[in-house]
């Protein structure tokens, strides 16, 4: 008995289903970017607060550490009964995981700023806000970018777990490909996921280079 061909790679699949594939890719991308944006917006004030009030640093890092230990599958399950199935649930889960990585890296970045530098700026009469944005933040940027890269890559991978609540972007294609034993569909979605992670990672590397022009000069010197 000849089994029907079920190749892992098929351009034919991509051509026939481009509309659906591109739609899920778009969902995957926007979900990732949105989650990262929200996570940054929450992580930054939290990290600054943890830096300013050392007593808060322990609880902030501790709570986000516990959050991180909770499996994504369970977190989506915890949220689904209250936020329903769909985009919101996945988004909240993604933000929660990106948050820990970002908070940790921003705190570490701010802590590693040379004390002499901040003292000098203070001596020059920098107010706390100006000190934060013009001295501490630029110096912490390499660590922040490193955290962003980790958060971006793991968020792309995590979106796929959203299939649990029916909103997994490219994960949706993987899952359906599995149910209908359609290998090309699984492989295409997998490769697109990897490509998306790679593109985001490269974009962040470039962004980091443009945002910290002085590091290149230092490396060359």
């Amino acid at each position: 008995m000849d089994e029907p061909a079920n190749p892992w790679f098929s351009l034919d699949y991509l051509q026939r289903n481009w509309e659906e594939v591109s739609q899920q890719l778009l969902i995957h991308t926007t979900l990732t970017l949105q989650a990262l944006a929200i996570a940054i917006a929450i992580a930054f004030p939290l990290a600054v607060l943890a830096r300013r009030v050392p007593a808060l640093a322990g609880p902030v890092l501790g709570i986000s550490g516990v959050l991180y230990t909770i499996p994504s599958f369970a977190l989506f399950g915890l949220l689904a009964p209250f936020t329903g199935i769909g985009r919101t649930t996945v988004l909240i889960g993604l933000v929660a995981y990106a948050l820990l990585v970002l908070v940790r890296n921003i705190v570490v970045g701010l802590q590693s700023v040379d004390r002499d530098v901040t003292d000098a700026a203070r001596g020059l009469g920098y107010a706390p806000m100006r000190l934060l944005f013009q001295v501490e933040l630029p110096n912490a940027l390499p660590s922040i970018i490193a955290g962003l890269r980790i958060a971006a890559v793991s968020t792309v991978a995590l979106v796929t777990v959203g299939v649990v609540v029916g909103y997994g972007g490219l994960g949706q294609l993987m899952f359906r490909g599995l149910q209908s034993d359609y290998r090309a569909q699984i492989m295409t979605a997998t490769l697109l996921c990897l490509a998306l992670a790679l593109v985001l990672d490269l974009a962040l590397v470039l962004l980091g280079r443009m945002a910290t022009p002085w590091t290149r000069g230092r490396a060359a010197a």
Binding site: I70, A74, G77, L78, P81, A157, T160, V163, V164, A197
Partner: protein, 243 residues
């Protein structure tokens, strides 16, 4: 009834723990498997799958890490491996394995989880071995120990705290990955969440999520104690900083 009330009712019903017909069920070929309607059965299955996955990862990663770390070569490779596996969605590997010759069910999950457990063990073993004080190595070699003896009797014991930290990361991550088995017809506690979503019984979804989260947190606590136990007291502070 409210979702929380449903979850409470599910968790306090003895039958959800023991299953309607015990914690194992016979299979058609005369064997047995864990009953999929018993929390105890699913928990045992969950732990067994996690143990199998971590064991496979340790068997491969530990000797490799010891060897590479002793030679102080391949540091770049271990970094690339751990970065690459972070980008691979767990679901992708699971579905790829399930659709391949490996087939549906627990084998696909164990293998996929083992692959994700591999990088933390490898990179921590490598770092632990490679960062042993060169003077200590030289002294051991000077006393006439063979390279193999230096690796297993001098460097490996010194690397144990870091290896334990890697093992903790790998184990907690595996316990968190195994719930995805429910999506490829495997077992483990994820089954409760998946079944609840499919039947729109959100109380059970919540109960399953609480169970999975609790198992992950307990595993982390147990592994933290283990890590502490194998770390000599003077090294504890350094180990805590690197964990």
């Amino acid at each position: 009834m409210s979702t929380v009330g449903d979850a409470w009712a599910y968790l306090t019903n003895p039958e959800s723990w023991t299953g309607a017909n015990g914690i194992t069920t016979p299979t058609f070929d005369g064997g047995w498997r864990f009953a999929q309607d018993s929390i105890i059965g699913l928990t045992l299955e969950h732990l067994w799958m996690s143990f199998a996955a971590v064991s496979i990862a340790v068997i491969v990663a530990l000797p490799l890490g010891v060897w590479l770390g002793h030679r102080r070569r391949g540091g770049g490779v271990t970094v690339v491996i751990s970065n690459l596996t972070r980008a691979i969605p767990t679901l992708a590997l699971l579905t790829l394995f399930a659709a391949s010759a490996i087939g549906f069910g627990n084998q696909a999950v164990i293998l996929a989880a083992a692959i994700f457990a591999f990088p933390p063990i490898l990179s921590n073993t490598f770092t632990g071995m490679a960062e042993v004080d060169p003077d200590v190595r030289e002294a051991a070699l000077g006393q006439g120990l063979t390279r193999f003896q230096v690796a297993t009797r001098v460097e490996l014991p010194l690397a144990v705290p870091l290896i334990a930290a890697g093992l903790r990361t790998a184990t907690v991550q595996t316990v968190a990955t195994v719930p995805l088995a429910a999506l490829v017809a495997g077992g483990g506690l994820g089954v409760i969440i998946n079944r609840g979503l499919a039947t729109q019984r959100y109380g059970e979804v919540l109960a399953g999520a609480i169970l999975v989260a609790a198992l992950a947190l307990i595993t982390d606590a147990v592994m933290a104690r283990l890590q502490r136990a194998v770390t000599p007291a003077p090294l504890r502070e350094a180990a805590a900083a690197s964990a």
